[in-house]
Every structure is written in C-alpha cells, then in structure tokens.
C-alpha cells in the first residue's frame, strides 16, 4: 500500500505516524522518548516501523515537524518540513473540522491555536516560563511518589481542590508542600495543581486570545484527565481529547506530506537504511567574524549532509567547496 510517514521530534518525545492514502493511521502510532538523542530516537522508531511493514508497502511521502524537524528532515529526506504549530492545526482540523481552539501541552512547551472556518487565525506559544508543561507535572508526580499515568485519575477523586499559586513552578511547589503539611488530602492537592496549571496556561499562553468551543486538547499532557477536567471547569465548555492525542504533530506532518506528494509526484525519502546508517554530528564556533555563530554539521560517513546555524550562509553549502572550508578552519 502507498503510505505516508509523519515524524515529530520534540524535546521529550519522538513520534512516528504512518498513514494510508485516505489519511487514516495504518500502523499503531509510535511514541518514544527522545532522551536528548534525536538521531538515535529517530533511528529506533524507523527500525520498529520497518519491521512491521508488509511486502507491498511503500513510503510515498515523508513529513517532519517538532523542534528537530530540520535535522530529521535532512536524515530521512523529507518532502515537507513544517513548524509544529501548523502541523498540530492540520491534525486537529482532520479530527474535528469545526474546531475553533486547539490547546496543546507537550513536554517543554505549550501552545494555543485559534481556528476560524478551518484556518489558523491566531496562535501563541509559551515564552519565558515553562510552568504548566508536562515536565513540571512529571516532576511533581515524582515528588509526590505517584506514577504519572495515575496522576489524572487521582485528581478525579478530589472533593475540594486546594488553591495553589500557578504563576511560577517555584511558588507552586512551595504552596503544595504547605498544603500537604496542613493535612489536605492528596487528591485535593493534585486537583488543585491541575487547576493552577490551567490558570497559568490561560493567563500566559491564552492571554488575550479568543478561546471559543469546540476545543481540542492534545499533546502528552492531554492524557491527564485531571487537566482535562480543570480546562472544562475553567472554560465552561466541553474539551475534546482526540484518540491519537499524543502524536498529533506527527499525524499532521504525515497529512501534509500526503497532500504535498499527491500534488507533486515523487518522494525524497532516503529509504529504511536510514535506521542503521551511522551519522556523525558535531558543532563548532565559526571564527570568520565576531558573530561567532555556532555551526552544526551532520555527516554520513565522510559526506556532509547539512550544516546550519550560521548567519551569513558561509557554511550553508555542501559538497567539495564546504569540505575545503572545514579543513581550513
């Protein structure tokens, strides 16, 4: 079958989704931990998918997204390299075409996307503060000694959620410790934490945005029923969590790859051997001018696949000319 691959490499997770020509998931989507090694995570994911494919299966398009989209795009030979905001919007609209708000909370960032009549009209990402993202929830679950997957269910048992300052994780944590010592129950504290995070999100990321239903909630944190309930309470509206909530970026990238390659035939996919190829990456500081750009170089054996990070374009070339420049460096 003709298949379309979407890859989303973020700070916390690396996700891969395979779609059939109708845009439905073909294999079970993969959700892997990036663990600070995007190339290794990507190769692991590709190997898992390769082993599940049948004889007639053929990849006809690849799209990448996430903070390592450029890197992933070079390694696999992507047809589409798309920012995660657009990719998430595409996926949400596929699930719920009449959606008007997308809340996405991932490992280290959170975003809001405002949609009207099927197009993005406004968006925002968290900037100066990582409070209210998955990493903070992880950390607090660990501190309270609750497995993260039970966190949300626990919040559901709360009778009177406690009030916790959500402005900053440092204050939130000291508030939580205080409430614990006062004798509040764990479910009340956990539910209070969810509400604090939702307040923080709406005040920071959702600030001055026109949040209207239907609302889609996606990203890893959408697994947390406590967070979903807190959003529904704060927004006074139903919040929809799609079935593949934690791989929506990859889903969107695959949909975009499908649209792109169906319009323009032919894929740049470099094949499954990518999963076993040795890649070398290194970074260096360019000394040609005082800007001192940090240049990143990706090599496959001796061949330079790509370089980026420079402002002037000096390193942006590949091939013999650039190799020479590197040797002189």
């Amino acid at each position: 079958m003709e298949l379309y691959l979407g890859i989303d490499i973020g700070s916390v997770s690396t996700n891969l989704v395979m779609l059939d020509p109708l845009g439905e998931p073909y294999l079970a989507p993969l959700y892997l931990r990036t663990q600070g090694q995007p190339i290794a995570a990507l190769q692991r994911g590709l190997a898992i998918i390769r082993d599940q494919l049948g004889k007639g299966d053929l990849v006809c398009g690849v799209g990448t997204t996430g903070s390592a989209r450029q890197l992933a795009g070079v390694l696999v030979g992507a047809d589409v390299v798309k920012n995660e905001i657009s990719a998430h919007a595409v996926a949400a609209l596929r699930i719920l075409p009449e959606a008007r708000t997308v809340i996405e909370i991932g490992g280290q960032d959170s975003k809001i996307i405002i949609l009207r009549d099927g197009i993005v009209v406004d968006f925002a990402m968290n900037t100066v503060c990582a409070a209210g993202t998955g990493s903070f929830l992880d950390q607090q679950a660990f501190r309270l000694n609750i497995p993260i997957d039970e966190f949300g269910a626990l919040a559901g048992q709360a009778c009177t959620p406690v009030r916790i300052a959500g402005r900053c994780t440092v204050f939130a944590e000291s508030d939580m410790v205080h409430k614990q010592q006062m004798g509040h129950t764990l479910p009340d504290i956990v539910a209070g934490l969810c509400e604090a995070m939702v307040r923080n999100y709406l005040n920071n990321v959702g600030k001055s945005k026109d949040v209207a239903p239907p609302i889609v909630f996606q990203g890893g944190v959408a697994a947390n029923q406590g967070m979903r309930a807190a959003f529904e309470k704060a927004l006074q509206a139903e919040v929809v969590v799609p079935r593949y909530y934690n791989v929506m970026g990859a889903y969107g990238a695959a949909l975009l790859a499908r649209d792109q390659t169906q319009r323009r035939a032919g894929t740049g996919f470099r094949g499954w051997q990518v999963s076993t190829m040795p890649f070398q990456q290194r970074s260096f500081e360019c000394k040609a001018c005082p800007n001192a750009c940090e240049v990143i170089e990706i090599k496959q054996e001796r061949e330079v696949l790509a370089r980026w990070g420079d402002r002037c374009g000096r390193w942006g070339v590949t091939g013999a000319e650039a190799d020479q420049a590197v040797q002189q460096h």
Binding site: D117, I119, V121, D122, E294
Partner: protein, 364 residues
C-alpha cells in the same frame, strides 16, 4: 579623548562620520556578539532591558580597545531608556572602569544646555563645522537607509538572497568608508546597479510590517535577525521606522524636515491617545497604517519588560479586530536558541498565506 558609542544596527556608520568630521577620535566597539551580551548580562540588573545590557557590553569591549569616553543617547518620558546613561555610568564606576559619559539628549526647547553640552564635546570646532558634520552624518544615515530598504525589498524576490547579502555588505562598507557625498552616492548607485541583473522569482509576495521598540527593530543582533528570517521565507518586510528618522528625532532635535512620525501618532487614535513612552503609540499607529496599506500582517518586537510596548501590545487585539490585520509579538532578551522564534515566524507566515488564499477564494 578616545570616544566610543553603542551599536544599534548600522547606526555606527553615521555616528562615526559625525565624530570624524568633528575632529574626534572614535573607537568603534566590535560588532555586538555573544561575548558582548555575556559581558552586559553579567554586569547589568537582571530586569533591565536587553538594549541596556548590550550597550554595557559594547562599552566594556570598547574600553579594552582604549576608549575613555562614552557617547550615549538620552531621552524623555516614561521609557527607562532616558535613565540608562546614568545607570550605565554607575555600573561602570562600580566596576572600577573610569569612562567619561557624554549624554546626547533631544534639546526639547532648552537650547542653552544643549549648546553648552555640545560645545564641551566638540572643543574648538566652529559651529559651521559642527553643522557640516551633522549634515554629512545625516547623508550617511540616509544612504544606509536606502541600502537597507532595498535589501528588504529584494531579499524575498531573488533566487540567491545570499549573493544579495554579500553585495549589500560590500556596499555598506563603502558607505562607511566614504569621505564625501560623491562617494556615498556612488556606493548607493553601484549597489542598485549590481543588484539589478540578479535572477528573480515570480509570484505574489506576502508583506509584513515590522513595528516596535526602536532598538530591537533596528538591531539584528537584538531581534535575532527577524527581518532576515522573514525575507528568506519569502516575505517582504517594511519597517515602521528607519535609522535616519530616529537620528533626526532623537539626536538632531528634528533639524531635518523628513517624513516624521506624526502621522503614526495620529493613526494610533482612537486606540491609544496618550504618549506612553518610547514608541508605544507609534507601534499602534504603524499597525493601523500597515493595515490601511493592505499589508498581510504585522510583527511587533520589544525588549522583555519594555513598558511602552507592553501597553501597545495590549491595544493591538483591538486593531486586529477592527482592521483584520494579524499581529505577532516577540519579547526579546538574552537567549541563544532561535528555534522558538523561527517556529513562530514560520507558523505566522503559514497563517498569512492561508488567510490570503481564503480571501482570494471568497473574492474579497
């Protein structure tokens, strides 16, 4: 007296010309780099804005090159910038770095003080020479503006934008080196000639207006090359304010009659009728102005904690609602990862494209 001054985009070219013509000995700090930012961040108060930190880094780097005097801009109104020269003087003193601080402020009516201060700086130059120096610096600023606006216009239109940038850098160097008006005119006309034959792309371009706090609008280090990122994404960027306009308003007290910023102040009404410091009102006015001219979107840039721009930012949703122009705001501070900025710019461009397509379909 070895005199230095902070970088702000290509401002150094005009100021160097001014000082040289006054018979002074300017020391240009190295271009703002990560090292500059590091120095500034280490010694500045954490919640001071990014320009103060970069200025301070510039001064310290210039000090290593032998500078003993700093020429710094001042200002009036609620923006903290007006007080920066004093804060910087104190910080330098605390560090045991002895540098004289000369503050250039708009005369705002008090010509006597302005005259004495200028006199102390220029020594025994005649007023005629001072005027001539100011006029030459002005021409340099205009030449720089001509190059920059052409660069912004051409970058999204050419197949090889990197080649264009190389030609631009060379033209800028020639403007900097020029010793008379003929040299300036030649540098600009050669730039226009050299870029004319370059292969171009066809198609309808998106147009975005860049508004916000002046330092972050003009300085590519401070704004992480936002203009360039947008240009390479195929977007034509227009600035709400150019260097020469700022110089005229802030340093020369409106001496030259060029299109000032008054029309932007008017356009800000009824959204923001008061002077809120810095260029807050002009940010709102420019957004309205760009919307009226049919631009696709507006990007606002400001240093983190910039009060005038925060006021403007909170007014912009009303402008978007009435004029249907999308806006995207960035608060900038020391940060080495540009990924977040690029992601937002890409998404913004996607948004603008989708909007345009939809409008075409609906025949608006």
């Amino acid at each position: 007296m070895k005199i230095t001054y902070p970088h702000m985009g290509n401002l150094y070219i005009a100021i160097r010309a001014l000082l040289l013509k006054l018979g002074l000995d300017p020391v240009l700090p190295p271009p703002t780099s990560r090292k500059t930012a590091l120095l500034g961040v280490r010694h500045a108060p954490e919640f001071a804005c990014f320009p103060l930190k970069l200025n301070l880094g510039n001064f310290l780097e210039a000090r290593e090159m032998g500078a003993d005097t700093v020429l710094m801009g001042g200002g009036i109104g609620p923006c903290r910038f007006g007080y920066y020269a004093e804060v910087q003087r104190e910080i330098l003193a605390d560090l045991g770095v002895s540098m004289e601080m000369v503050v250039l402020e708009p005369p705002s009516g008090d010509w006597v003080t302005f005259k004495t201060r200028t006199r102390s700086l220029v020594g025994d130059c005649s007023w005629w020479q001072v005027l001539k120096a100011i006029r030459f610096a002005w021409y340099k600023a205009r030449a720089v503006d001509a190059l920059e606006s052409k660069l912004l216009y051409l970058r999204p239109r050419l197949c090889e934008p990197l080649q264009l940038e190389a030609i631009y850098r060379e033209a800028l160097r020639r403007v900097d080196m020029a010793e008379n008006r003929r040299g300036l005119d030649l540098a600009v006309s050669d730039f226009l000639k050299d870029t004319r034959g370059l292969p171009g792309k066809s198609g309808d371009l998106l147009r975005v207006g860049l508004v916000g706090e002046i330092f972050t609008v003009l300085d590519p280090y401070a704004n992480y090359d936002i203009e360039r990122h947008l240009g390479l994404l195929g977007v034509e960027v227009t600035r709400s304010i150019f260097l020469s306009e700022w110089i005229n308003e802030h340093l020369f007290g409106g001496l030259f009659h060029v299109g000032g910023l008054d029309h932007l102040k008017e356009a800000a009404s009824p959204y923001l009728n008061a002077f809120v410091g810095g260029h807050g009102r002009e940010t709102v006015g420019a957004t309205v102005h760009f919307a009226r001219q049919g631009y696709d979107g507006v990007v606002q840039v400001a240093p983190f904690t910039c009060m005038p721009e925060i006021v403007a930012h909170s007014v912009l949703p009303a402008v978007t609602r009435d004029h249907g122009i999308p806006t995207l705001s960035f608060y900038l501070d020391e940060q080495s990862g540009v990924a977040g900025i690029v992601t937002r710019l890409e998404a913004f461009v996607d948004l603008l494209e989708a909007r345009r397509k939809k409008r075409l379909k609906e025949g608006v």
